[in-house]
């Protein structure tokens, strides 16, 4: 079953067409990667799906329901959570407080919210920093906090926007490990990433955006050897002709 179905998605900002005719379908329980050069429209696609922007054209179905233009908080209640490329922690509050904002989605009790938040932190090996101020965290921990908060809302589909950007190689490996464990929990993962090593290792399928259009989709191997993808990333002269 496809948990997310995107058809003919298009988004214009004034005269600029950021996305055009994008089709995506993501099978439940899989990790789906979205790559593309800077400015390709990846984050715009995420923002349309997560309800930040209303798409100009096309249709987005989540769990079979059309969700075009629905508000982010309603989507979150339906089970669609996201992280931000530029992390947005509630900086003056503790890590636990941050995660509790997420876990309040399914409970009105502070005690219950705290218990669930601690569970999430435990799962992410993050509990040791529960009482640290979010503003004092390292960039790697802030990315982890983004995931922890989103996870606390108990999502079915999790959109991860460049959670590995700016991490050291060892931290990237940890993050790959975390994402795999989330998938093993039954959460479908839709990930935007620039770090090829990570996305190739993680993804079951990868789609490539270039100038707002999807130019390729397939298994990581298929995509990596696709001529159009190499052209988009490296330029014409790197394509070995006749191969």
């Amino acid at each position: 079953m496809n948990i997310l179905e995107v058809k003919e998605l298009g988004k214009d900002f004034g005269g600029l067409t950021a996305l055009q005719g994008v089709h995506l379908s993501i099978e439940a329980g899989r990790i789906f990667g979205l790559i593309g050069p800077n400015g390709a429209g990846k984050s715009t696609a995420f923002n349309c799906i997560a309800g930040v922007y209303a798409p100009t054209r096309g249709e987005i179905r989540f769990n079979g329901e059309v969700i075009n233009g629905q508000k982010p908080w309603n989507l979150c209640k339906k089970g669609l959570a996201r992280t931000f490329q530029i992390v947005k922690p509630f900086a003056s509050k503790t890590v636990l407080y941050n995660v509790m904002v997420g876990s309040f989605l399914h409970t009105n009790s502070t005690r219950e919210a705290r218990r669930r938040a601690l569970e999430v932190l435990e799962f992410l090996h993050f509990a040791g920093k529960a009482h640290m101020r979010a503003g004092d965290l390292t960039i790697a921990d802030r990315k982890r906090l983004e995931i922890a908060r989103a996870l606390a809302t108990r999502p079915k589909l999790l959109l991860l926007d460049e959670v590995m950007a700016g991490l050291r190689p060892a931290e990237v490996d940890q993050m790959v490990e975390i994402i795999r464990r989330l998938r093993d929990q039954g959460i479908t993962i839709f990930v935007i990433e620039h770090i090829m090593r990570a996305i190739m290792a993680l993804s079951d399928r990868v789609a490539v955006l270039h100038f707002g259009k999807k130019i390729a989709e397939g298994t990581p191997q298929e995509v990596a050897s696709d001529e159009r993808v190499i052209k988009a990333y490296l330029g014409e002269e790197y394509v070995v002709s006749g191969s």
Partner: protein, 337 residues
């Protein structure tokens, strides 16, 4: 003794002091000053629900004081309805107006929200100043309304001495502080703080930021109006310039900013510091230099913003915690918010 014991002890001392003060302070002038101090602490605590937790800066809360004062006074003068009931009616009316103001303005950020709320409050003041009769209700325009102190007693909320007023406003202040404490630890408190600090992130976590702000606004304006009704019964004379003035709105914001927005102790500390400054500068310089207290406020505000941008509650809380560390060493700190 544990930290918890020391905390309880400190609270008990403060309460005993607060309740015992009228036994020592017999001067009506000083009691008057104290009543106003609590009145402002109460107003600022109510304001803090929106201005502190939700991270916006409303500058029109005088409108709600006015609505509370006028509603209870009109109901009392024209219909003989007890100010206690008038207080609640005024509160409901104020929260209705608060939501009406909040609906269009909560989409604005920063200074625009502040200016919009200020404009609403000024609009209400100008209207009240220019209306003598609103349907069956007599507003008396700029001349205001006077409550003749004929029937004394708790039911009419009119007393011959200051002490009963002192205890009523003290209880109101304690109640609103307790309410704030509960809200800060509830889902609403978490949602308000999250929406105030990073609205986009809060929305992505399922927080309907606008709705939680409106809820806070409704509560804040309701509570503010209760104090307005109390003020009318305390001074027995209200007019637009006294209860709906810009000065009042600004003073609430000043007290909050200096004491510390978003904290529970902040508004009380701010009022403790600023109210005496305001009253004594009015007493001593009122004839020669009117408005001096606002100048002093400004200077204090500038100094606090430069050296303690999160308000005076922060260094004081830290000092208190350090003292507790001394008294009860080696114990883990209670989780603050």
């Amino acid at each position: 003794m544990t930290r918890r014991h020391y905390n309880k002890m400190a609270a008990a001392i403060v309460l005993i002091l607060a309740f015992g003060l009228p036994l020592v302070v017999r001067s009506a002038t000083y009691l008057h000053i104290l009543v106003l101090l609590y009145f402002y602490a109460y107003l600022t605590t109510s304001w803090n629900l929106v201005g502190g937790f939700a991270g916006v800066l409303p500058l029109g809360h005088a409108a709600f004081v006015g609505i509370g004062a006028y509603t209870s006074t009109i109901l009392y003068l024209q219909y003989g309805i007890s100010p206690w009931i008038g207080m609640l009616v005024g509160g409901v009316l104020a929260s209705f107006v608060g939501v009406l103001i909040g609906l269009p303005t909560f989409k604005m950020r920063g200074a625009y929200f502040a200016l919009a709320t200020l404009a609403f409050a000024e609009g209400i003041r100008v209207m009240v100043e220019n209306i003598d009769r609103l349907g069956p209700f007599v507003l008396n325009g700029p001349r205001g309304l006077q409550i003749p102190p004929l029937k004394l007693g708790l039911g009419n909320l009119v007393f011959a001495s200051k002490e009963p007023y002192y205890y009523i406003i003290l209880l109101m202040l304690l109640a609103v502080l307790a309410l704030t404490w509960v809200i800060a630890r509830s889902k609403l408190g978490y949602y308000l703080n999250a929406g105030g600090e990073e609205p986009d992130a809060a929305m992505a976590l399922g927080v309907n930021v606008a709705r939680s702000k409106l809820t806070a606004m409704a509560m804040s304006s309701f509570l503010t109006a209760l104090a307005g009704a109390f003020y009318a019964q305390f001074t027995l004379y209200i007019h637009p310039k006294s209860v709906i003035s810009l000065d009042l709105s600004f003073e609430i914001a000043f007290i909050a900013l200096i004491g510390g927005r978003g904290s529970i102790a902040g508004p009380v500390l701010g009022a403790l510091l600023l109210r005496p400054v305001s009253d004594f500068s009015r007493i001593y310089f009122g004839d020669t230099l009117p408005g001096l207290h606002l100048v002093i406020f400004g200077v204090v505000l500038i100094l606090v913003m430069i050296f303690q941008p999160r308000g005076l509650q922060e260094p004081l809380t830290r000092a208190y915690n350090r003292l507790l560390d001394r008294l009860a060493p080696g114990q883990t700190k209670e989780l603050g918010t």
